[in-house]
């Protein structure tokens, strides 16, 4: 298909590389170097979307990141991305995109009725209308979302790859226009580590779309030379297609790089620590606020000449330029040079007299000084404007309107420095009253703004400022100044006149009548909306923003900010700086979640910690349970078994033959030094002075609040050496806790801690045959119960492997815990499994372990405790030393800890022995017809015990120990089982088996 609006030559597109694409189902052709927007315009497509609230037809407004009107849905299926501005999408062959926010099509949109009803939909219409009844909000919201149409999110898994890079540099330059390139050159020449990021595919910034000359040649040649010099510097990194989107504390800056589809990684998030940042982020042109200023064909003046100069596209056939400044005359001149008929320049200023108006005059372009556009004709495309002369005050128009036919209106209200990153860095904008624009104020971090971002608009000044800032940044980062003479390129400076700021252009009718004066095209916020919100009392700009949605969402006020503030200021009779500015928040432009997740997805989402025996468990059918980051076998599944069957089988084996557990995940801390016992005395509730070498003791650790924090067995390995075990989940926390006390409170203690959790593989044998099985593997450890009593340890060899064997037990059976160097864990395990076959050795998982310990009434920290449970509550007074101090001791004397009605650990036996209570179920003593009923406690652990042939449960019950024998009720959704309060030790309460 012919590109009806494409020039036959010029521009930075490659006519040798035609690219086919579809938009809203129609096929078109563009060229390499196009954006989707320029390619659409080349094909004469101006109408690209519908507005957010009123569904008014909208056309392409800009040529850059500030685009408010052309969000598109790019591609379909798993790769689809919503709300990408067509101006930012590089054209590629086969691209497919569609308008968002319209149904059934962009030409005919059913919701356009909103525009006709707009008198009924003032600012904050949703808040006012849909608030009552509050319970309906959820259904309102759904319908509103549908109507507002924000594009559609992909529902499939994203097939693309995203990743992240950390980077450190001396100087980061944000923006690859003239000022940014000059800064990068100056910094790079010192040998500094420089990163320069440019959001577009091509470096050059505004120079790409202008006809400027540098050193007497087209500016683009200077750009090419600068890039070549930068590319040759080994410490300079050029990042095209990369947006600096977030500026955080300590000069931590985040960049998003679009790498394209061919390199494997589609987008990359750069996390950069910067010594000195140069913000060369340019400026964004201000629209003018006038009647129906949103009609397709109304375009920012700078964008119009960018399309002509850079993309060789004429966005219209006959143009009217509407301006308050000299810069827009460049558009008049460039469009005329590109063959567009320029009907006239409508200038709000009475007597424009800079270099550029003179040049326009010389070209025979009609200039209407002191006139304004007062009406726009054409809904889906401008076909004419009406212009009227302003009166002397500029507050009103008078005389007869004049109609000018045109299909393109190029507007310019001046330029706003892009302050988003500066604002994110913590800086506050300063209002330059003489020019009525916000410029960067004092720096709060190591950054500076240059060029248009600093309010410096002339090309010569931009280059000088960039050079100086780049050199200063490199020096600030510690680089010596380059000895080479820095030659700032020569540019003829153009003299430009001042702007005339009429924040709302007067027209035939008052604002808000007959026509709409849009301030924020992205969110459909009009001048009348802002005036209304001020009248309704929303005087703070932050309130106005939220009330009207001005400057919210992906747009972040790029085009609307200053006009909105000015209108609010006028309404309040205040000066613009007194109204304040809203905060620009990261990201500057939207960042896809894929890039934020990077490679932390799927199997890499979180580390999986595996024991040395992990793969044996896998092959044996283990069903794993997450304990922290560890995978522990929960039970070993056999074909035709339910989980209950497997757990019963494992539990029975532990009490009747022999069972084997991988306990490698338990935390292990090697404690060495003459004050080791003293440390234990202080952090554990019981006394450690009398523990003999080769003996073990159970310890309970409390927080400063007196609540149980961790427990475990600690063994004395030597005169000044102990081995502490912690629960699996708390290993790192306990290590940190001990180190914190040692380093901050008790530096006088001579003791060192070393984590040895990973050094040892731990295998536990439990059951009546455990001793006989182990006996076949050791010759140097006497396993006899008298020679090697309960709660002691021996060092020797097991299966020829150096081992530490502990006689400790969590199951209540005669148990041996064997520790060997981790690399031998699997060898030991398989040896024991092989030899244990004749005893019916059974591997058991955490579920059976939980059942077995519950049969004994042993607690699990984090299950029987929840941070509000004291040792006394657990009936563990025996572990509290009265003779010494320990962390948490004083807290146990608090009145609350002494209360008689505290919840205490008890056993619970259901009347129906087969009824297993759900963990967490609430317990009542007195059953009523319906809630509320006073609750006296809750179930903490509950299982079916195959060994006991019935269900058992542990519970925390108010004054529970005094309630022994009482019947309580456990109201559930569908039934209310009765249960009797019992002693928590259900099995072998005397512990004969343990010691055997």
């Amino acid at each position: 298909m012919a590109q009806s609006h494409r020039l036959s030559d010029g521009g930075r597109i490659d006519r040798e590389q035609p690219l086919g694409f579809t938009f809203n189902g129609k096929s078109y052709q563009g060229y390499a170097g196009d954006t989707l927007a320029s390619a659409l315009l080349a094909n004469g497509v101006m109408l690209v979307g519908r507005s957010f609230k009123y569904h008014r037809p909208r056309g392409i407004l800009s040529a850059g990141v500030e685009e408010t009107n052309a969000p598109v849905q790019l591609e379909t299926g798993p790769r689809t991305e919503p709300n990408l501005p067509a101006t930012e999408i590089e054209l590629y062959d086969g691209l497919s995109a569609a308008s968002v926010n319209c149904w059934p099509s962009v030409e005919i949109d059913a919701m356009e009725v909103n525009d006709l009803l707009s008198r009924l939909m003032p600012a904050a219409f949703y808040y006012k209308t849909f608030m009552w009844p509050a319970r309906f909000w959820m259904s309102y919201e759904k319908a509103i979302r549908q109507a507002a149409g924000l594009g559609t999110t992909p529902v499939h898994r994203d097939p693309d790859r995203y990743d992240k890079m950390h980077l450190h540099c001396d100087v980061l330059v944000a923006g690859g226009g003239p000022a940014g390139l000059a800064a990068a050159l100056a910094a790079g020449r010192t040998g500094a580590r420089v990163v320069i990021a440019e959001q577009q595919a091509e470096f050059g910034g505004a120079l790409l779309g202008e006809r400027d000359e540098i050193d007497g040649a087209p500016a683009i040649e200077w750009v090419a030379a600068a890039l070549a010099e930068l590319a040759a510097m080994p410490e300079v990194r050029l990042l095209p297609r990369t947006t600096v989107f977030g500026y955080y504390d300590h000069n931590f800056v985040a960049l998003l790089e679009h790498r394209g589809d061919t390199v494997g990684t589609r987008k990359r998030l750069w996390k950069v620590r910067v010594k000195q940042t140069v913000l060369a982020t340019g400026a964004i042109e201000r629209p003018l606020v006038f009647a129906d200023n949103d009609r397709p064909g109304i375009m920012l003046a700078g964008a119009a000449r960018t399309y002509a100069n850079r993309f060789a596209v004429t966005p219209g056939r006959r143009a009217v330029i509407f301006t308050n400044n000299d810069d827009a005359y460049r558009t008049a001149l460039d469009l005329k040079a590109a063959g567009v008929e320029v009907a006239c320049v409508v200038d709000l200023r009475g007597d424009p007299d800079g270099d550029l108006p003179d040049r326009a005059d010389a070209q025979g372009i009609e200039v209407l000084g002191g006139w304004a556009v007062t009406a726009v004709h054409g809904r889906k495309r401008v076909n004419a404007v009406e212009v009227m002369a302003l009166d002397a005050s500029g507050e009103a128009v008078d005389g007869e309107p004049r109609r000018i036919d045109c299909d393109l209106v190029c507007v310019s209200g001046g330029w706003n420095p892009t302050l988003h990153l500066f604002s994110q860095s913590g800086g506050r904008a300063r209002f330059d009253a003489a020019r009525s624009l916000f410029v960067p104020g004092d720096s709060m971090q190591a950054e500076c703004s240059v060029g248009a971002a600093n309010g410096t608009f002339g090309l010569a000044s931009c280059l000088t400022e960039g050079h100086e800032a780049g050199a200063a940044a490199a020096a600030g980062a510690g680089r010596r100044r380059s000895q080479k003479r820095i030659s700032v390129p020569r540019v003829a400076e153009t003299v430009e006149g001042a702007w005339r700021n009429l924040w709302v252009v007067p027209g035939k009718h008052p604002v808000g009548r007959r026509a709409k004066h849009f301030v924020d095209l992205h969110n459909d916020v009009t001048a009348a909306d802002i005036q209304l919100s001020a009248r309704e009392g929303y005087e703070s700009v932050e309130h106005t923003k939220r009330y009207t949605t001005l400057g919210m969402g992906p747009d972040q006020g790029k085009t609307s900010n200053i006009a909105g503030l000015a209108i609010l200021a006028r309404e309040r009779g205040a000066d613009i700086p007194d109204v304040g500015t809203t905060t620009f928040r990261p990201p500057y432009t939207p960042v896809t979640f894929g890039a934020l997740a990077g490679r932390d997805i799927g199997p890499l989402a979180d580390p999986v910690r595996r024991t040395p025996m992990h793969h044996w468990h896998e092959r044996a059918g283990a069903v794993f349970e997450d304990v922290g980051q560890w995978k522990r076998p929960r039970y070993y599944h056999r074909p035709s078994e339910t989980m209950g069957d497997a757990v019963d089988r494992e539990c029975l084996a532990a009490r009747n033959s022999v069972a084997i557990l991988d306990a490698s995940t338990l935390g292990k801390i090697d404690i060495q030094g003459p004050d080791a016992a003293e440390l234990l005395n202080r952090v554990y509730t019981n006394a450690w002075d009398a523990l003999a070498v080769d003996r073990c003791r159970y310890g309970l650790m409390l927080g400063e609040d007196g609540m149980v924090m961790d427990d475990g067995v600690t063994a004395r390995l030597g005169e000044n050496r102990y081995l502490m075990t912690t629960t699996t989940g708390n290993a790192a926390r306990v290590m940190g806790w001990l180190e914190e006390w040692l380093q901050t409170e008790w530096p006088e203690l001579k003791v060192h801690l070393t984590s040895v959790t990973e050094q040892w593989a731990t295998v536990t044998l439990s059951g009546p045959h455990a001793r006989r099985l182990l006996g076949a593997f050791t010759t140097d450890i006497d396993l006899d119960a008298k020679a090697f009593p309960f709660m002691s340890l021996r060092q020797g060899t097991v299966a020829g492997i150096p081992a530490r064997v502990f006689r400790i037990s969590f199951t209540g059976e005669s148990s041996f815990e064997i520790n060997v160097p981790a690399g031998y864990g699997l060898a030991l395990w398989t040896a024991l499994m092989g030899a244990g076959e004749k005893y019916g050795i059974t591997p058991y998982g955490t579920e059976a372990m939980h059942v077995l310990r519950a049969e004994k009434g042993f607690i699990i920290v984090g299950q029987e405790t929840d941070g509000t449970v004291t040792p006394v509550d657990l009936g563990m007074d025996w572990v509290l030393s009265k003779k010494k101090d320990f962390i948490g001791k004083r807290s146990l004397d608090r009145a609350d800890c002494q209360r008689l009605d505290r919840k205490q650990l008890v056993g619970l036996l259901t009347e129906d022995p087969n009824s297993v209570l759900p963990e967490g179920a609430q317990i009542v003593s007195e059953l009523r017809d319906k809630p509320p009923m006073p609750m006296i406690g809750h179930v903490t652990s509950s299982y079916f015990s195959a060994n006991l042939g019935r269900s058992i449960a542990l519970a925390l019950v108010k004054d529970g120990r005094a309630r022994q024998g009482q019947t309580v009720h456990v109201p559930l959704d569908d039934r209310t089982p009765r249960a009797v309060i019992a002693d928590p030790a259900f099995y072998d309460p005397e512990g004969d088996r343990l010691h055997g």
């Binding site: 990743d163 910690r609 070393t754 031998y824």
Partner: protein, 205 residues
């Protein structure tokens, strides 16, 4: 003594030696990965301001303890990594005697000598793009101006705590990672290195 054939390295289950043989010559892959051979690792705690402690260590190891943060000291068959103001990692060829000698020499010096040889896997990372791979998961500045051969650091690589030791300026790194995280980190490294081309090399290269 234990049968050494029963011993398994932390990444034994990945069959890296077979892969290395199968994949052959590293060729032009940008990244070479290997599981480094077993070595004795001893965690040493002590008072660096105590001359007697320093002398005793130097006597046994033949090299003094590095005092500057994040540096290493190399002696005959032994390397010492600075981990903290009072903590070092002593790395040597498998050598039980040296460990015992250190324990004996430091008795009474308020030091702690703890064998941790089995605690960590050591992954070798070399190749032209080795640094880029680390940059994907490590927030430290690894540029040659900031981090060179002979430097070490305790840091996070992706989501695993590691000791990073730069062993050569090619660059070459040894990455010490807790045994239970080794499988995760290896998977992460292969994934991160994919775009540069990865070859698994034998343990000794």
């Amino acid at each position: 003594m234990a049968d050494p054939f029963q011993w398994q390295s932390p990444l034994a289950h990945l069959g890296l030696a077979a892969r290395s043989n199968r994949e052959g010559d590293p060729g032009d892959a940008g990244v070479h990965l290997s599981e480094r051979p077993a070595r004795t690792q001893v965690n040493l705690r002590g008072d660096s301001a105590d001359d007697a402690f320093n002398e005793a260590v130097t006597m046994v190891l033949g090299v003094g303890l590095p005092a500057r943060p994040n540096t290493t000291a190399a002696g005959e068959g032994v390397t010492v990594l600075w981990l903290g103001p009072d903590e070092w990692l002593v790395v040597a060829a498998p050598d039980v005697d040296r460990l015992a000698a250190l324990e004996t020499a430091l008795a009474g010096h308020g030091a702690a000598v703890t064998e941790v040889s089995e605690s960590r896997a050591v992954i070798g990372l070399t190749g032209a793009n080795a640094r880029e791979v680390l940059m994907k998961g490590c927030a430290l500045d690894l540029h040659p101006r900031a981090f060179r051969a002979g430097r070490c650091a305790q840091t996070l690589l992706a989501r695993a705590g590691v000791i990073l030791h730069q062993t050569g300026n090619e660059p070459a790194y040894d990455i010490y990672v807790a045994r239970s995280f080794a499988d995760y980190l290896w998977t992460w490294l292969e994934d991160a290195a994919g775009e540069y081309g990865v070859r698994v090399t034998g343990a000794d290269t």
